[in-house]
């Protein structure tokens, strides 16, 4: 490992610099492809580039990256035009047009590739690496061309960032203020084709869509800001390039390109799971928190109900008594009781016997108050029948925030009785005059 990260080996330097450059520029450009919902188009372009690469080799007889790039860009552009034409001028749907272009161009590419391999040209070796990439075999010449292209791409994206943002978000408005939307779209498409055409050197035609789209998709989980998204996507591209090269250095039989894609996918999976708010983990935690709140509040309400009926608010209640008040699930009840004792809302007198603490009493009054306020709101303001409001209130009582409670109290004028003539419990107990 230390060998690799000193970057003393010039070949290591070369390969790593190359993959990082390609990964980053694809990720930055891919952010716009992702936001314009054109991921599939990116994949189609990547596949469609193959015949262009093969043709330029057949014509020039050379593998100079600049020549191959020209062929790739022409083929990529042609595929875009054909897709646009098919979906706008024929009755074919967009996905059919994309699918057709992808397979027809790729098929033609494979045909050309096969014919080159059988032609016995001395220079043909390595051309098939366009299929899966040839990161480890990049030459100084390759890197020179790629870094030039990457620098141009980065410069263009930075310079036109604002305009690209607008045409991705609201092209009709962009057109209405007179922006040259078609020319900007042409520029963005050309940048995409260039990023794809260089990127296939690292991961190949087949995996290129991953290099373009995955970093942006992963980045979207972490941020609501397009600027931050571009930075994160670039960072993910950089990391996967760096560690992809490292893995193929430490295990020389390992291909770099596929490893870059595996690492990117790993980053995406981690993002999907652990990202704050949007991630699966955060959502699960939120749901668990909700379930805990509902469980505890329902138990408190049962205590209140028993106390209200017996006119003894903090009376000791047995677990069986609670079950009679409300059909609790056994495990949830035990768990909820333990949680409430720990929060200081319940006293545990002896196993199976509990009573509300002062704090617990207050909390139980709050929940019951919300329940009854909501019932009243439904009957008074939304014309529900009094016997149809209980179930709704059972759910809504857990949701109402203090602000909503205040609004309800204002709206209903601090009512005393709910629709079933039960007393609405306030924090300061209602005055005797209430009756």
């Amino acid at each position: 490992m230390s060998d690799f990260f000193t970057f003393s080996d010039p070949n290591v330097r070369l390969v790593t610099a190359g993959t990082i450059l390609l990964g980053m520029s694809a990720a930055i450009v891919g952010t716009f492809t992702f936001l314009r919902k054109r991921a599939l188009v990116g994949d189609a372009i990547a596949h469609a580039i193959l015949p262009g690469v093969c043709l330029s080799f057949m014509i020039t007889g050379e593998k100079h990256p600049a020549y191959l790039l020209v062929g790739a860009v022409i083929a990529g552009w042609l595929s875009l035009l054909v897709m646009d034409y098919l979906s706008s001028r024929t009755k074919l749907s967009t996905d059919t047009a994309i699918g057709a272009v992808l397979s027809v161009f790729f098929g033609a590419g494979i045909l050309l590739l096969t014919s080159i391999q059988h032609s016995g040209s001395a220079n043909q070796a390595g051309l098939d690496q366009f299929l899966f990439g040839k990161a480890a075999a990049m030459t100084r010449q390759d890197i020179g061309v790629f870094s030039g292209v990457a620098a141009v791409l980065l410069g263009l994206v930075l310079a036109f960032f604002r305009s690209f943002k607008l045409i991705s978000f609201d092209p009709a408005f962009a057109k209405s203020i007179g922006l040259p939307v078609r020319r900007l779209e042409f520029l963005l498409s050309t940048i995409t084709v260039l990023a794809v055409a260089t990127g296939i050197q690292a991961v190949g035609v087949v995996l290129m869509a991953a290099l373009l789209i995955t970093p942006a998709a992963a980045a979207r989980f972490w941020t609501d800001r397009i600027q931050m998204m571009v930075v994160l996507a670039a960072a993910f591209g950089l990391l996967s390039g760096l560690f992809g090269s490292w893995i193929s250095y430490t295990a020389p039989s390992m291909p770099t390109g596929p490893w870059i894609v595996v690492l990117l996918s790993l980053i995406a999976v981690v993002s999907v799971v652990v990202a704050p708010q949007r991630g699966i983990w955060a959502r699960l935690r939120l749901q668990r928190g909700n379930a805990r709140k509902i469980r505890q509040e329902n138990i408190l309400k049962a205590f209140y109900g028993i106390g209200e009926a017996a006119d003894a608010p903090v009376a000791t209640v047995s677990v069986d008594g609670l079950r009679q008040q409300r059909p609790f699930e056994d495990r949830a009840l035990q768990l909820g009781l333990r949680e409430l004792v720990k929060k200081g809302l319940l006293h545990k007198h002896k196993p199976g016997d509990y009573a509300l603490t002062t704090k617990g009493l207050q909390e139980s009054r709050r929940v019951v108050r919300l329940h009854r306020l909501w019932e009243l709101y439904l009957t008074e303001r939304m014309n529900y029948a009094a016997d149809h409001v209980h179930n709704t209130a059972e759910a809504i009582e857990h949701v109402i925030t203090p602000e909503v409670e205040a609004a309800l109290l204002r709206e209903l004028g601090h009512p005393i009785l709910d629709p079933h003539d039960a007393v609405i419990p306030y924090q300061t107990p209602p005055k005797p005059s209430a009756s």
Partner: protein
């Protein structure tokens, strides 16, 4: 009164199917104008063709007596709210700032003045407290107000708004209405595509009643009558729609080439 919008023989077809036929009207400056008509009557298409977003098959539009390109900086367009993806990762302020983009300033940063104007517009629609929120976190009505704020930052003289009251809560409707009245006070012209007949006659000074062809255009009192409403919303012109179907099915041109009229 000077004329803000003038359409002449405006005819538009989608996939050869005519959606606007021979629309001819003139609208004076300084009015709140409602564009009304049933679903599919070409209201949105009318706005888009005024804005040059769809190409008319024939006819033309003049704004303040000039072509769109000559007066573009004086015109502001508010698309339908559903026309964009509100999950897009940008903030409320960034959307408002888009009203300051100019075609001769594609590159580089916006000025301090641009930021000030955007914040001022957000303040006017009551959205400044939400300026740093991502746009997905807003209610439908708030999103619509952000779109209106973006239009305000353009500081135009003519505003074209597509359904700004659709799916909007009472508070947002109130905010937008107040703003429209202020804009009228300031001498602006506002053309609004509207779907709700109940509120229409309170909102607008002037109306364009549409159902593929122009039913009537004029001051509200003269347009909002049972007779014209029935013409627009009531009996379908079945022969007209049969002819439209024929044009589409047989792939006829909607106008013969020599007949195309151009503005001088």
């Amino acid at each position: 009164m000077k004329t803000a919008i003038e359409t002449h023989n405006l005819t538009v077809a989608y996939n050869r199917r005519p959606v606007l036929w021979d629309i001819d009207f003139q609208i004076p400056e300084g009015q709140l104008i409602g564009v009304l008509g049933p679903n599919g009557s070409g209201k949105t298409t009318l706005l888009k063709s005024i804005m040059g977003l769809v190409q008319p098959s024939s006819g033309y539009v003049r704004l303040f007596g000039q072509s769109l390109d000559e007066v573009r900086s004086r015109i502001s367009y508010v698309p339908q709210r559903e026309s964009v993806d509100w999950n897009f990762p940008i903030s409320v302020r960034e959307v408002a700032l888009m009203g300051r983009y100019r075609k001769d300033k594609l590159l580089g940063r916006l000025s301090r003045e641009d930021h000030r104007l955007a914040d001022e517009a957000l303040e006017k629609v009551g959205m400044l407290p939400y300026a740093d929120r991502q746009i997905a976190q807003l209610s439908g009505g708030q999103q619509q107000r952000v779109f209106v704020a973006r239009a305000l930052t353009q500081q135009a003289d003519l505003y074209l708004m597509d359904e700004p009251f659709a799916g909007v809560d009472a508070a947002s409707e109130e905010a937008i209405l107040t703003l429209l009245k202020d804009m009228k006070q300031a001498g602006k012209t506002v053309l609004i595509v509207h779907h709700d007949l109940h509120t229409a006659h309170q909102f607008f000074d002037w109306m364009v009643l549409l159902n593929t062809r122009l039913i009537k255009c004029g001051p509200t009192a003269s347009v909002f009558t049972a007779e014209y409403l029935k013409q627009a919303y009531g009996g379908q012109l079945t022969i007209l729609s049969q002819v439209s179907d024929l044009v589409k099915a047989r792939d006829f041109p909607i106008r013969e080439r020599s007949f195309k009229d151009q503005p001088k």
